[in-house]
Amino acid sequence: MTFDVSIERGTSGLAVVRVLGEVDLDTSPRLLGNLQDALRGGAGVVVDLAGVGYIDSSGVATLIQGLKLAGKTKARFALRDPSPRVRGVLELSRLTDLFEIEGAGGPTGG
């Protein structure tokens, strides 16, 4: 309804996980499940956050879990296009440096 996740796998094996809506205590378990699915046997995951209007600590925790999971198989794990609001929450958690962030204003490029 107000939350949706889609997974698109490219020919390279890299999966783009597109998140739409608000990531909170209610919806982050679904996001975690999708990240786990996307990481299974793939080359890695790019989490497209352009459609995320809100994220709370459980959402950040979920992204950390995804990052750790990817680390186990040395798969890539990147965030794409977080809105200023989402970026602000990542900064509040002081974990921005931990993540590879694609997209305008990201430390790892534009």
């Binding site: 107000t2 608000e22 909170d24 205590l25 209610d26 809100y54 709370d56 600590s57 459980s58 950040v60 925790a61 979920t62 950390i64 879990q65 750790k68 609001r85 602000g88 929450v89 509040l92 958690s93 002081r94 974990l95 931990l98």
Partner: protein
Amino acid sequence: MPSRAYLAEVPADASCLRAVRAFAAAVLAKEQIDESERLVLALDEACANIVKHRCPTIEDGRICVRLELTDATLRFRIGGFCKPGDVPKVKPRDFADIRPGGLGTAFIGEIMDRVAFEPDPERGGAMELVMERARRSEDDV
């Protein structure tokens, strides 16, 4: 000037957090409060803590939120937040300790000026979480 109070009460379920956020965002917009997005986050984290840590232990749990505004201060009161004995447990982990969990209270601490626990006048045996921030209007920035 007397404080203006806004109340919302919803079942203590994760699926109800969005309604509390929508209400708080509209109230803060009406009151022309600066940094309302961060304040909504702090409130949401406190409410989420009730769902995660408080409600598994009580039946028919509710989230009761009170927003009090004066010309100088913005105060959130979250009713029935925890048992008196739980107060010492409510604290963030070290930011250096990177793992999921422990972030919510850290966010609250970063965003609010003052966080305190007071005996809940309406729920005997429970503590109310009281969070305050000096009110900054958009002109102060």
